[in-house]
């Protein structure tokens, strides 16, 4: 995978919103390289900027938001410079497609689902009426909807949540995009359905050669589907690496805190770990490391200067001053230490 091409490259992206007269900086110089054919997960708490980040790839920011600086290179074009609808039409659906979180509201309640999928097919595959309809029925079958001919004529409210999400996925895939972004695709669904949907996505990824980005706050989902993980906090990607690297050898204090908070990692008899405080207010400029105020082991420099990426391995890097050679040795929390040891063991094997 290391020799795969980079198909999407984001550098130092800054996204701002005008909200109630003030300016909110939602994305603060985030960078990301997306490799062809991989499955990347972006994790972070609510408000970390995960959705906003990916929306910039398709020009789906709300009207009061804009890309302030930075670049998004895709197929030789800088998407950050795209302004008009004509620009984005070339990308949306055709090259990059999105699956939204809530299948209840993602579909137009007054149109049959057949028509809604057909819209995408007609738009992107250039087929007309009869052929389009046939294609739609095939796609519906493909995503696991039984009796597609009958279902074609039905309305969204006649489908269950899981089925609706399959329809939304069908719409996204019908466009035959290169990149598929799934924004919390299973958060609104039952656990049993979650597994089905994730399997469906994996299968479709193989079949259509997609590169997928999963946005989620559920680390279980990540473990299931992702090759790489990017951890987002306060609008920046603070750690990124292969799945096992980030899980077993996390470097950023926030990632430590995140992982230690997992109930599964709790040590019996000891209180569960939780991170003190709340994410920073993004209306204010943040000096230094955004996580510093909540980090009991923060360094003075964390309040002064924003840390750059420090390399841990060719595929793993983190934005933390702890990786600087001048920094003192800091022991991660107990639960992380346990993970690390396991990692050490596995590595040697």
């Amino acid at each position: 995978m290391e020799d795969s091409k980079v198909i999407l490259s984001v550098k130092d992206l800054v996204v701002k919103f005008k909200l109630r007269g003030r300016i909110l900086t939602a994305i603060r110089e985030a960078s990301l390289d997306l490799y062809e054919g991989e499955s990347l997960a972006i994790v972070g708490e609510s408000g970390s900027g995960k959705s906003v980040f990916t929306k910039t790839f398709m020009g789906l920011l709300d009207a009061n938001g804009w890309v302030d600086s930075g670049s998004i290179m895709f197929e030789g074009q800088d998407l950050a410079k795209y302004k008009t609808e004509n620009d984005w039409i070339k990308i949306r659906g055709k090259k990059i497609a999105m699956v939204f979180q809530d299948p209840m509201t993602s579909l137009n309640p007054l149109k049959t689902i057949g028509k809604q999928v057909q819209e995408a097919v007609e738009l992107h595959q250039g087929l007309k009426k009869e052929e389009a309809k046939k294609a739609v029925i095939e796609i519906l079958r493909d995503v696991g909807i039984s009796e597609p001919e009958r279902r074609y004529k039905q309305y969204p409210h006649e489908f269950s949540g899981g089925m609706r999400q399959r329809v939304v996925i069908a719409i996204a895939v019908a466009c035959k995009p290169r990149i598929l972004i799934c924004d919390e695709p299973t958060t609104a669904l039952d656990v049993t359905i979650q597994a089905q949907i994730l399997n469906l996505l994996k299968r479709l990824k193989e079949k259509y050669n997609l590169t997928t980005i999963y946005i989620t706050h559920d680390l279980g989902v990540v473990a299931n589907v992702a090759d790489r993980i990017a951890v987002m906090y306060a609008g920046d990607i603070i750690e990124i690496g292969k799945c096992e690297e980030v899980f077993y050898n996390p470097q950023h204090p926030y990632t430590w805190a995140l992982l230690s908070s997992l109930p599964q990692l709790g040590i019996k008899g000891k209180p569960l770990h939780s991170i003190k405080g709340t994410p920073p207010n993004l209306f204010y400029d943040i000096k230094g490391d955004a996580f510093a105020p909540r980090n009991p082991k923060a360094l003075k420099i964390d309040f002064v200067e924003k840390p750059p990426y420090f390399t841990v391995s060719p595929t793993h890097k983190a934005k933390t001053w702890l990786l600087d050679p001048r920094a003192p040795k800091v022991e991660p929390p107990e639960s992380i230490a346990i993970l690390r040891k396991q990692w050490g063991l596995n590595k040697d094997e």
Binding site: A97, T105, S106, P109, V168, C175
Partner: protein, 314 residues
Amino acid sequence: MLKYSLKRLAQSLVTLFIIVTIVFLLMRLMPEEGYFGQAYEKLDEAQREAILAGMGLRDPIHIQLMNFYKSILSGDLGVSNIYRPKVPIAEILKAKIPYSLYFGLTAVGISLVFGVSLGIIMARSKSKIWDKLGTGYIVFINAVPAAVYYLFIQLYLTDVFKIPMLFKPDVPASWILPAISMSLGGTASYAMWMRRYMVDELNKDYVRLARAKGLRNKAIMVKHVFRNAFVPMAQYLPSTILYTIAGSIYIESLYSIPGMGGLLVDVIQRQDNTVVQALVLIYSSIGIIGLFLGDILMALFDPRINLHKKGGAR
């Protein structure tokens, strides 16, 4: 769908029945001079009683009620006593209805077309000039009593456009102002609701999905937003009809249009009870039919509607 329509129909009939009864009871409270007119003074007690008895007004209430229902069902609306003595009301109305109908339907039509268009324009240009102008118009129409601006329209626009003040069937120009005046209220209503619904729809998730699909803004507006926003509008069609009726009462009188509204004003001033009664019945029925139609229309467009969901939606 069929089940829903039948249920609504039953509801409407029940409502109609209740209203007819209420009107009847209220009418029994009307001052008795209304049955006599000038003659009231000239007759003595005994004669008056005889006449009232002859009209069935001295029978016990439940008998009067039965007779009332019977006559309504057979189309007999009674006889005018003052306005056109001894003339069956149904006949009086026959000549008047076409005018009211014409103006009423035209006004509703104009409101629909202009109101919806204005609403769409306002939604598209949210917070910009058209939105502000439209809002100003809506505020004005809703706040200032219709009676007042109807007056000023008649006063000044007839001057400016050299249109005759009063309505004459053979003068085409005189048809314009009344129709437009009647449509103003409805236009404001439709514009306001259309704008509100479109703005609501524009914020919904499925619009975002449509955009993510790669649909152009225009296509989204037409195929998704407009159609979805229009559905709840269907329920306002009947209110517009009601509104127009109310307006027509005033306008017909203002422009001397020989329609039902003008008739109502006339007979109220002359206190002709039976005609007032008949007209109130007719107007109420129109209102109920309108509301019924509105609900059916809504059900036609929205596959989700069943009887229980609708409760209190208005």
